[in-house]
Symmetry: C2
C-alpha cells in the first residue's frame, strides 16, 4: 500500500486502539475471563479499516475527534464480535485469525460465544452514552442505524446466507446480495457515520452510505482475490479455504480476470460518489486507492 | 398461582406476543431461515414475566401502553437471546426449552448462534427508534441501561461465572453475586423501565431497580427450588440437571428449608420497597405473590 496511506492508517489505528483499551478495561471494572477474552479478540492487530472510514468520514464533515473515536471503537467492537462468532466451529471453524489462535482456540467455545455477545452489547452501550455525542437524538440514531446494519436484515442475515451457500452455486446477483449484507452494511455505516455525527443533510447520508457499500463490495472482491492468490504466510490466516468449502465469491464464479474488472468498476463508482467533496474527502479517497491495490 | 394474577399475566403476554409478532415479521421483510429461527425461539410460549414487570412498572408511573409494549418486547428479545445461547452445546447443552426442542436442536448450532445475535441486536434497534418514546434522550438511556444490564458487567458475566462454577463450590456471597448478574440485572431493568419511560425522579429509579433485583433473587431461588423438587413433566424442561452439573444454587448450598427462608426474606424486602406506592403498584405486588408461591 502507498506509504502515506499506510502511515495514516497506522496513526488512526493507534488512536482507536487507545480508545478501545479504555473502553475494554474501564477504571474500577474487575478483570475476568470474559473481559480478557474480549480484550484478546479486539486487540489482535486488525487493520482497523472500518474505524479509519469513520474517522475519514468525520473529518469530511468537521466532526470532533472524540465523537469519531468512540463511534469508530463501537464499530470495531461490533466487527470483532462478528469475527469471533464467524470463526466458531459451528460456523466457519477457523483456528487462525490475524495470525493468532481464534478466540475459541485461545479460550474455549463458551467463552468465545459470550465474548462475542458482550462485544456486540458493548458497541451499543458506547454509541448510546453522552461522550459519543451531546445530542441524544444522534446517539439513538447511531444505535438504530448500526443495529439495522448488523441484524437480521443486515450482517447476520449475510452470514446465514454465506453458510447456506456452502457447496451450492449462487448466481452473481445472489453473491452480490450476500456480500452487500455481510460486508457492505458495516462499511456503509462506517462511511455514513460522519454525516450522522454532523447532522448533515440527507443527500450526504445517501451519498456516503452508497460510497461505503460500494467500497465494501470492492474490499470483498479484493479479499476474495487475495484468498485465491496469496499464500497463508503472507495473510496470517488460512487461504484458498473459502474455495475449498465452496464459498460463494465473485472470483470463483466469474474467474480472476473478470473479478478484477468488477473490482476496478466498483472503485471507479465509489470515486465518482465522493468526487463532489474534492480534497475534503482525501482520506476516503486514499482508502479506495488502498482497496484497488490491496496486497494483504 | 392466584387466578387473577394468572389471568392478568396471560392478558399482558398476549399483547406482548402481538407486539413481538409485528417486530419479528415486519411488513415487506423477507422470510428467511434466520428470521424463522428467531421467531421460533421467541414465540415458544414463555411466561413473559419480564415483559409483565415492564408493563406493571409503566402502569405505576402512568406511561402510555405503546411505549411499555415496545420496551417489554425489546427486553423479551434480549432475554430470549440469552436462553438460545445458554442452551447451546458449548454452554448448558440443553435439548428442551419450554417443552419444545431448543433452537439449536430445531435448527442447527450456527443458526441458533446467529438467531441469538440477531435477537440481541433487535432489542437495541427496538429501543432506539421513535415509536418507543418521543424523547430521544429516553431512547438512548434505555439502550445504555439495557446494554449495561446485559453485557460484560451484567448478564453475560453472570453466565460466564455460572459456567466457571460447574463442579466448584462457591460461597453464598459468590452465588448471590452470580445470580444478581445473571438474573437480577434484567429484572432490575424491567422494574425500572416505567420510571425511565416516565422521566421519574432519581429516587424512583433507585427504588424500582432495587425492587427488580430483589424480585430477581427471589425468582431465582424459587426456580432452583422447583428444579430440586418438581418433575420434568411439570416444568417442560430437564430438572435436577443443574445439581447434577454441580451448578451453584442456594438450595444446593444451604438446603431446601434455608433456601425457602431466604426466598421469603427477599419477597418481604421487595414488598417493603414498593409499599410507598400503595395500590398503584398492585401489579408489581401480584408478581411478588406469584414468585413467593411459584409451583411452575
Amino acid at each position: 500500500m502507498p506509504a502515506d496511506f499506510e502511515a495514516e492508517l497506522k496513526k488512526i489505528a493507534s488512536r482507536v486502539d487507545s480508545e478501545l483499551e479504555a473502553l475494554l478495561r474501564p477504571e474500577g471494572a474487575q478483570h475476568s475471563r470474559l473481559s480478557d477474552a474480549m480484550h484478546y479478540a479486539v486487540m489482535g492487530g486488525g487493520k482497523r479499516l472500518r474505524p479509519y472510514l469513520v474517522v475519514a468520514s468525520a473529518e469530511l464533515f468537521g466532526v470532533p475527534a472524540a465523537s469519531a473515536m468512540r463511534t469508530a471503537a463501537a464499530l470495531e467492537c461490533l466487527h470483532t464480535y462478528s469475527l469471533v462468532h464467524d470463526d466458531l466451529p459451528a460456523m466457519d471453524d477457523d483456528d487462525l485469525r490475524r495470525g493468532r489462535p481464534t478466540a475459541h482456540r485461545a479460550y474455549d467455545e463458551a467463552t468465545a460465544i459470550l465474548a462475542g455477545d458482550a462485544l456486540l452489547t458493548l458497541a451499543f452501550e458506547i454509541l448510546s452514552e453522552p461522550p459519543t455525542h451531546r445530542d441524544p437524538a444522534v446517539r439513538a440514531y447511531l444505535v438504530s442505524r448500526l443495529a439495522r446494519a448488523a441484524g437480521a436484515q443486515g450482517m447476520a442475515e449475510g452470514q446465514m446466507r454465506d453458510l447456506l451457500a456452502e457447496g451450492k452455486s449462487l448466481s452473481e446477483e445472489e453473491v452480490l446480495d450476500l456480500q452487500g449484507l455481510k460486508t457492505g452494511a458495516l462499511f456503509s455505516f462506517a462511511a455514513e457515520a460522519g454525516a450522522i455525527l454532523a447532522l448533515a443533510p440527507a443527500d450526504d447520508h445517501i451519498r456516503l452510505a452508497r460510497f461505503g457499500a460500494t467500497l465494501g463490495l470492492a474490499f470483498q472482491i479484493a479479499d476474495d482475490l487475495l484468498d485465491e492468490e496469496a499464500s497463508e504466510e503472507e495473510l496470517g490466516k488460512a487461504t484458498a479455504k473459502d474455495r475449498a468449502k465452496g464459498k460463494a465469491t465473485l472470483p470463483a464464479l466469474l474467474g480472476i480476470a473478470e473479478a478484477r474488472s468488477r473490482l476496478d468498476a466498483a472503485v471507479s463508482a465509489a470515486r465518482d460518489l465522493i468526487e463532489p467533496y474534492g480534497d475534503r474527502a482525501r482520506k476516503l479517497s486514499a482508502a479506495l486507492d488502498f482497496t484497488a491495490n490491496r496486497k494483504k
